[in-house]
């Protein structure tokens, strides 16, 4: 072999060229690929992916989801059309000095139906609860939980898959709705949204996904805790009712007790206002309402009480998006914290639990 190679220069050249071209571009790549296939990460991820896929399929083919999606879509589109039919043109004219009339699609209505954001705030929790209330308990009751857990999957991936699938489905729905409203608004008014308006709507959509995922997590927590799906659904709805109806009443009672007289010192009034503000801050729906108003109404400058000093020198104009986000950052953090708390509790309850086949 060697002698033949040495004999002709072309042969030598060929071998020199061949060797690098054979070795370099293909081999290291293949080698890497093979390794990733045997990697531990892919071993864990693939079953997880299968679980998420299955959960999403289950959600989407489930009548419960279809009905709720239809309700929410109809409600939102109904609002949109009633807003667009006559009110919108007036709104556009009235707000000609305001640059953000596209956002009005989400916040204003002609009064026959509540505006879009009210529907989202109202039906969102229901949606979250309905997606999660039987997440774990139904698996347990069907006897599939022990079968799945006898497979080599980490126990938490069941919770994670349920949660992730829920979030994916919720995101899908909210983005669909937002874009639907935007698209039909675009067709009806004929004026495209500005980049800022578009970004505000996207941010609003993302934050409403966070809000609904809180309720999703809460209902998953109940589904871990309660064996009966009905109990867990009712608990979820009870929490929701408590926060929307009873807690404001209780907060009102407490606030009434602290109401300062007309001649009270500014300090007392300040304290009263602060109390009024902080008492409602633990309500997830209040947090979300504040987020909505700050993001969708750019002229909102503060969510809590403001002193005259703080107002001094302020120019009466709308805030840029960055500042609006900054304004709702505490509320946003609060929502995330509540979500994580629910998730943590479900984890604690679920990880140490004994999994019997049924019951």
């Amino acid at each position: 072999m060697k002698s033949t190679l040495l004999k002709s220069g072309i042969d030598r050249l060929n071998t020199i060229i061949k060797i690098p071209s054979f070795n370099f571009p293909t081999n290291p790549f293949r080698f890497l690929r093979k390794e990733t296939a045997e990697n531990d990460r892919s071993l864990v991820l693939s079953p997880f992916k299968a679980m998420v896929q299955k959960e999403i399929t289950d959600h989407i083919t489930n009548w419960r989801f279809i009905i709720l999606f239809a309700i929410i879509t109809l409600a939102c589109l109904g609002t949109l059309f009633s807003t667009l039919s006559d009110g919108m043109k007036v709104l556009v004219n009235n707000n000609s000095e305001n640059n953000f009339f596209f956002l009005n699609l989400f916040t204003k209505s002609d009064g026959t139906l509540p505006p879009y954001f009210v529907f989202v705030g109202f039906l969102g929790p229901l949606f979250g609860i309905s997606l999660g209330f039987d997440a774990i308990s139904s698996e347990q009751n069907r006897g599939t939980l022990s079968r799945i857990l006898a497979q080599p999957v980490p126990r938490d991936s069941i919770l994670n898959a349920k949660f992730l699938a829920g979030i994916i489905v919720i995101s899908l729905m909210f983005f669909t709705l937002s874009f639907l409203v935007m698209g039909s608004g675009l067709i009806a008014i004929g004026i495209p949204p500005t980049a800022e308006e578009f970004m505000r709507i996207i941010v609003y959509t993302i934050l409403s996904i966070v809000y609904v995922s809180f309720w999703l997590n809460l209902s998953i927590l109940f589904s871990v805790r309660f064996r009966q799906p009905a109990t867990s659904a009712l608990s979820g709805i009870a929490v929701w009712l408590f926060f929307t109806i009873f807690y404001p009443m209780i907060a009102n009672l407490i606030i009434k007790g602290y109401e300062p007289s007309q001649y009270a010192s500014p300090k007392a009034i300040y304290f009263y206002q602060k109390l009024k503000f902080y008492l409602v801050q633990i309500m997830p729906n209040e947090l979300f309402d504040e987020i909505t108003s700050a993001i969708l109404v750019p002229s909102v400058r503060s969510l809590g009480p403001l002193t005259m000093e703080q107002m001094q020198g302020a120019i009466p104009s709308s805030l840029p998006l960055g500042q609006s986000i900054l304004l709702v950052w505490p509320q946003f953090t609060g929502l995330i914290a509540l979500t994580l708390l629910c998730f943590l509790l479900s984890y604690i309850l679920f990880m140490k639990r004994e999994i019997r086949s049924r019951g």
Binding site: L43, S46, P47, A50, M51, K54, D58, T61, R142, G143, T144, L145, S146, R147, I148, L149, A150, Q151, P152, V153, P154, K352, E354, I355, R356, S357, R358
Partner: protein, 320 residues
């Protein structure tokens, strides 16, 4: 020494004050079919859950295929197929889809999974029903699908928890035959938990009797009988009838029987008697009966089955 598939040492599990499994030590060899026999609530299922790391262990250690279940449950679950009692499936999916899902959870590549799924469905005889929704499956079909579900991941150990519950006799027979065939063919270790004596007797190489969280006895069925009835291992049943030559009353006959050397107990009722004794007494007993002028209608030696072993244990348990 053969390889151990399951090794349990000093396993204890408590629920509050109640001790579900009490210092259990047990080992099952590779390729063996081991029967865990015990009444409801004896701690069989709890033991199985601990084998799979599905519940916490209070003390002791569990090793499956040499892997500690409490520390590396995932590794164990890769090797163990578990068929829980009253197994559940996603009823909206077809049998094949259910199997494929489990295959994906086991990270079997899709093409290979499809092939194995069809093979296992064929093995358990569900090929025709593979595209039907599980909701329409009968109890026996579900149970067979459960077995396919266990087999698809090609386990080294199979754990079956009351797998024949709710099956008709013919179904039970087929199911058990399937398990035996599979175990022998593929060398799979089987841990079979049941309270059905006859099934365990038919199926298992070795049996462990499990009562109130304790393993009372363990071994081959024949050796279990010896262990248990070592005191009075023989039982004679017979019946006598009075004839004109009768010289003794029934009571006196019974007394004479009892006086014989080696006899522990005699029960006599209406001419029927049961004698428990240390050694085989059939010859002297029959001689006595005939000499006393009675006619001997029947005399039979009793063989011990698992039934008797089981009942004997319960008697002992009650006395404690």
């Amino acid at each position: 020494m053969a390889e151990k598939s399951i090794e349990i040492i000093g396993l204890t599990k408590k629920y509050g004050e109640y001790v579900a499994v009490d210092n259990l030590t047990l080992s099952v060899e590779k390729g063996e079919i081991f029967g865990l026999l015990g009444p409801n609530g004896a701690g069989k299922s709890t033991t199985i859950l601990m084998l799979l790391g599905l519940t916490e262990i209070d003390s002791g250690s569990v090793k499956v295929c040499g892997i500690d279940s409490s520390k590396y449950p995932l590794e164990v679950k890769r090797k163990v197929g578990y068929l829980p009692e009253d197994v559940g499936f996603y009823t909206d999916y077809t049998g094949l889809q259910n199997l494929m899902y489990v295959a994906r959870l086991n990270n079997i590549p899709i093409e290979e999974a499809q092939k194995t799924a069809l093979e296992t469905l064929d093995e358990v005889g569900l090929t025709e029903a593979k595209d039907k929704k599980v909701a329409s499956y009968s109890r026996g079909m579900r149970q067979r699908l459960g077995l396919a579900d266990v087999l698809i991941k090609k386990p080294k150990v199979i754990i079956l928890d009351e797998p024949t519950l709710g099956l008709d006799p013919e179904g039970v027979k087929k199911f058990l035959q399937l398990i035996v065939d599979l175990s022998r063919k593929k060398g799979i270790t089987v841990l079979f938990s049941s309270h059905h004596l006859h099934q365990v007797q038919q199926l298992c190489d070795r049996v462990g009797i499990f009562v109130k969280g304790k393993l009372l006895a363990e071994g081959k069925i024949s050796s279990l009988a010896e262990q248990l009835f070592s005191k009075n291992a023989h039982t004679l049943e017979g019946s006598v009838a009075e004839t004109e030559k009768t010289s003794l009353s029934m009571k006196e006959l019974a007394q004479k029987m009892e006086e014989m050397e080696g006899v522990a107990q005699v029960q006599m009722h209406d001419g029927r008697f049961v004698i428990t004794s240390k050694k085989d007494m059939s010859v002297p007993v029959s001689r006595l009966v005939v000499n006393s002028g009675y006619g001997l209608h029947s005399l039979s030696k009793k063989e011990y089955g698992l039934d008797d072993i089981y009942h004997q244990y319960f008697q002992e348990e009650k006395q404690i």
